[in-house]
């Protein structure tokens, strides 16, 4: 049997993900996290924080909640249903860092946790920084043009 025939056979018998269900669930969970963020924002501004500081504290709070749920072994059970709903918000980043840190702990704090903590989250940091640089250059040129 040639390679193409094998590929066809695999494709024929491999069920795909349920796109509709995944989209709905990720919308509900992702939207839910945004609602929680907004409620926290309202809470912090009511407590007297200014808007800029409130946004930062909301992010920190969501990161903490996701880290706590990861440590308690709850996050992955939610995320397997939520998909992109928990992955895309800052909760996904928090989970990627904390879960990797938990895994690496048995290999020591320096060569384990220290060296491996960004194994999963690394691409987000690298390409996040790079896109920040690109955005900065565009912004600089735009400002030179009198924008």
């Amino acid at each position: 049997m040639n390679s193409e025939a094998k590929k066809q056979l695999i494709k024929k018998h491999s069920p795909g993900s349920s796109l509709f269900k995944d989209l709905i669930l990720s919308f509900i969970f992702g939207g839910g996290i945004c609602v929680i963020g907004q409620l926290l924002f309202e809470l912090y501004t009511t407590l007297g924080l200014d808007k800029k500081l409130s946004s930062t504290v909301v992010t920190v709070t969501l990161i903490f909640i996701a880290a706590l749920l990861t440590a308690l072994g709850i996050f992955d059970k939610i995320a397997k249903h939520a998909g992109a709903g928990t992955l895309v918000p800052v909760t996904g980043f928090s989970n990627a860092v904390v879960s990797q840190a938990m895994d690496a702990k048995s290999e020591g704090y320096v060569l384990g946790v220290g060296a491996k903590i960004y194994t999963v989250a690394g691409p987000v940091i690298l390409f996040g920084l790079l896109s920040g640089v690109v955005y900065g250059v565009i912004y600089y040129i735009y400002s030179l043009l009198g924008g």
Binding site: M1, S3, K6, K7, L9, I10, H13, S14, P15, G16, S17, D22, T70, A71, G73, F75, D76, I78, A79, K80, A82, G83, T86, L87, G92, N95, A96, V98, S99, Q100, M102, D103, S106, V120
Partner: protein, 337 residues
């Protein structure tokens, strides 16, 4: 090319043991396991050592069931999924038995039994040997995929690496379950680099071995009660059955897969089924060997299926290669008649 070796001297399974974790206990075969640790940790602090301990417990259980001492065993053949097969060497070190570590990915169970029987078949003096195979879900996830608590979605074609071990004591002479033939597998291109579809990739290797067996032996499929593969899961089993129905009509109905038996496919989150070399080892030990011993099965072909790849080879876009060594097991009750 002659691939099948007939075992001239009688070799039988003296005893066997299956050890598992939480999900394995919850599965349909759960009560047949000799021991399951509901924490998956086996009293250890790391997943890797937990797997080593699981292998040790499996061999210890098989030894005590046979009434033998570790000093009676002349050779141990064992393997697992961890880098450098360190679970086997760590877990089995305390027995002080001469050791051969092997790697066959998830084909390790059949490979270890085959290797051991080849040694016993060619030796005039060797009386007893042991074969041990283990895999641990958390150790495998850490090594091959993402961190254990990472929140991701698995593809419907993905499989669940079992936390399970099987240990087998082989002994010269006649017994309730005999191993009568073995046939090493060939390395067969799975034509996919999708690490979430290893069952599909391995199906072609399983077919290659089954087809070659019937072609070379001329055996009538009616004489075989079951053809059991290791961990093809739902996707791989569907592919294999389609190929068998075309090329060896009638044999597809004899097929079953340990990866479809270990977990409740509806209520456990196993997706396409169980995988990991502990799957075929534990299902052979807790399900098929007892059936053979009781005479409920007479003759079976047993093929653990291995996906030969590494995390690096997958990232580099290389195909997954499959391998399926085959052993023929017969009920002693049948052959004694």
């Amino acid at each position: 090319m002659k691939r099948i070796t007939k075992i001239n001297s009688d070799i039988h399974f003296k005893s066997w043991a299956a050890v598992g974790g939480y999900e394995e206990r919850r599965g349909p075969l759960g009560e047949k396991f000799d021991f399951c640790d509901m924490s998956d940790k086996f009293g250890q602090t790391t997943w890797e050592i937990a797997e080593a301990e699981m292998g040790r417990v499996a061999l210890n259980t098989a030894l005590s069931k046979s009434g033998l001492s570790h000093s009676d065993i002349e050779l141990l053949v064992a393997g697992d999924l961890q880098n450098q097969c360190v679970a086997s060497s760590t877990g089995l070190s305390s027995f002080g038995i001469p050791f051969l570590g092997i790697y066959g990915a998830c084909s390790t169970c059949t490979e270890s039994i085959m290797t051991l029987s080849a040694f016993m078949n060619s030796s005039e003096t060797m009386q007893m040997g042991g074969a041990v195979t283990s895999s641990h879900n958390s150790a495998a996830e850490r090594q091959f995929r993402t961190p254990i608590e990472y929140g991701g979605q698995r593809a419907p074609t993905a499989q669940w690496t079992s936390t399970a071990a099987g240990a087998f004591i082989l002994c010269r002479g006649r017994g309730d379950v005999m191993i009568t033939e073995y046939m090493p597998g060939r390395i067969v291109d799975g034509s996919t680099s999708d690490g979430a579809n290893m069952g599909g990739a391995m199906a072609f290797a399983a077919f290659d071995s089954i087809y070659a067996y019937f072609e070379e032996s001329g055996e009538n499929p009616h004489n075989i009660d079951a053809i059991i593969t290791g961990d093809l899961g739902r996707v791989g089993s569907d592919i294999l059955r389609e190929m068998l129905s075309k090329e060896l009509p009638g044999t597809e109905a004899l097929h079953n897969d340990c990866g479809l038996l270990l977990y409740d496919m509806k209520n456990q989150d196993a997706h396409s089924g169980a995988s990991g070399c502990g799957t075929s080892a534990s299902v052979l030990a807790c399900h098929f060997l007892p059936m053979l011993a009781e005479g409920r099965l007479r003759r079976i072909l047993f093929l653990s299926t291995g996906a030969l790849m590494s995390p690096s080879s997958l990232l580099q876009g290389e195909n997954i290669y499959g391998i399926a060594p085959l052993i023929r097991l017969e009920s002693g009750k049948e052959t004694n008649k």
